[in-house]
Amino acid sequence: MAEAEAVESAVAPARSGGPKGAPVLPVLPVPPLVPVRIRAVEGLRGYGLIVAMWVRSTMAYRTSFFLSTFGNAAITLLDFVAIWIMFSHVDVLGGFTLPEIALLYGSSSASLGLADLLLGNTDRIGVRIRDGSLDTMLVRPVPVLAQVAADRFALRRVGRIGQGLAVLVWAVSQLDVEWTAGKVLLVPVMVLAGAAIFGAVMVAGAAFQFVAGDAAEVQNSFTYGGNTMLQYPPTVFAKDLLRGVTFIVPLAFVNWLPALYVLGRPYPLGLPGWVAFVSPLVAVAVFVPASLAWRAGLRSYRSTGS
């Protein structure tokens, strides 16, 4: 906890221009030549410390925290109520029943919620570039990505995760599926791998902001827009759109392909059955270019100088 306070005292004044006096350098032991593995551990440690600080700070406004956690859950709940209202008029949508769509909805929401909790604030990088506050992050002995991701860590986002998981559990209880070991395993793997794919999109979007400036909305259209799309069955959408989200930005691996395998339904593009299980590999595959883009973006960064 002593280290957490050391980081806090260094971070807080730089962030808010608060009255705490000159920033104190955090006392994190970092060897001069850091092997990759230790660097990753240091990054996670720094991430954890900054997250702990923001959680404490969030709890200072407790009413606001509970309201916003509730709001986060309610945002996704009302999305689902809209789907439910649709089903008060129809029995199937795109050939899918309500519990089947609930499976898609719950898994995608939980994945996005998880990615948003852990990495969502990377979209603030554009603001930090514009006001020059990214510079303070560059001189701290914690990897910049860890700092950016933990920046203003929003615990309220557990609301969305909880709501997504609740719908997912409801869907699983309602579905008439012959559960095999593979299908049972696939459900949690789908949520986690989906979160990793969304996370990679967020990192890539943050990298894009080094080039494009304040363009947080572009990444929102892939994450939030993608999430809205993945809540509905793929049969609803045009084939070209499906090709785009399967082969270019592989959002289809977040939940469509695994969930369709669980439901025993074919994917409209006619892919082989084993693709349902490759989501974790896809997640790794998209994180590589995303992190390379991040490194390239960070290296190309020129401070505004103010």
Partner: protein, 295 residues
């Protein structure tokens, strides 16, 4: 430390005399358009953010449009719309979303921040009315976003799908009036949210709840005519209905005849007046509460 109260700061300094009132009116006639123009220019500065927003609205437009096609294929005539009207609903509401600041991005976050930091005291000392000042700035912003973020998504939607846009210029004129009223209603709600920061200090929670309510009850997610039974009737008389549902119905001529359109505009006007009036009451309660720390 010096301490003074901002109790009873006169908004619009020259009041009481006829000449003062005239002078204040003349000044207001010049001041508020200038503030509105400033709001327009301020948002016009961020070209990349505007382009990114257009991209987002277009992506969401496509996603919603395909789901509506599936829904209206299954149930033609749902909610009293044919498929082209349902698709018009999607694309025009995506075009109005930024202008109405329906999912945030308006002024209230900034206002709440000024209240939290105390900068609001400076605003209260200005020889301008607080509500009119923010309204003018917000209408300027909305004017830019109507053009900058509204036109391109609608064009994209019209190219990709068969829409039911009217050819009658009078209908577009009525729509424009309805949009302005929708902006006033939206401002009325957001001004109350902004003022809430005088009591809550941190507006993040209430803003989020407001977004949820707006997304659901404006018809942005699903037209309010599709909402079932008594619940549907209830949501159609709420102020959020005046933000998306009513302008869309005016555009598509759902209200039969001139009388129907007039009734729709009157509905919006009543909500605009009620909300702006409530804003004034809350504002005077809030400014009586302000204590300015000097020194």
């Amino acid at each position: 430390m010096r301490q003074g109260t901002a109790r009873g700061i006169p908004h619009g300094t020259a009041r009481g005399t006829v000449r003062g009132t005239v002078r204040a009116t003349v000044r207001g006639a010049r001041l508020y358009p200038a503030v509105a123009a400033g709001g327009f220019r301020r948002y016009a500065t961020y070209g990349t953010a505007t382009a990114a927003g257009v991209f987002t609205n277009t992506v969401f437009g496509f996603v919603l449009a395909y789901t509506y096609v599936a829904l209206w294929d299954e149930r033609p005539g749902l909610g009293g719309y044919d498929q082209a009207q349902a698709l018009t609903f999607v694309w025009v509401s995506q075009s109005l979303l930024a202008a109405g600041a329906l999912i945030g991005g308006g002024f209230q976050e900034e206002m709440q921040e000024r209240i939290r930091t105390g900068d609001i005291a400076v605003d209260l000392y200005r020889p301008a009315d607080l509500q009119m000042w923010w309204l003018a700035a917000d209408l300027g912003r909305a004017g830019f976003q109507l053009l900058g973020r509204g036109v391109v998504p609608l064009l994209a939607g019209a190219l990709a799908f068969q829409l039911a846009l009217p050819a009658d210029p009078l209908r577009w004129l009525l729509f424009l009036v309805s949009v302005v009223l929708a902006l006033l209603v939206s401002f009325g709600v957001r001004y109350l949210l902004g003022l809430a920061a005088f009591w809550l200090m941190d507006g993040a929670g209430i803003n989020l709840v407001a977004v949820v309510v707006t997304v659901f009850f404006s018809g942005m997610l699903l037209p309010l005519t599709v909402f079932p039974g008594g619940f549907g009737e209830f949501v159609r008389v709420l102020p959020w209905s005046a933000m998306i549902q009513v302008p869309l119905d005016v555009l598509m001529g759902v209200h039969s005849g001139a009388g129907g359109a007039v009734r729709a505009l009157a509905f919006q006007s009543v909500w605009a007046l009620v909300l702006l009036g409530a804003g004034r009451l809350l504002q005077s309660a809030a400014t009586r509460k302000v204590v300015v720390q000097g020194g």
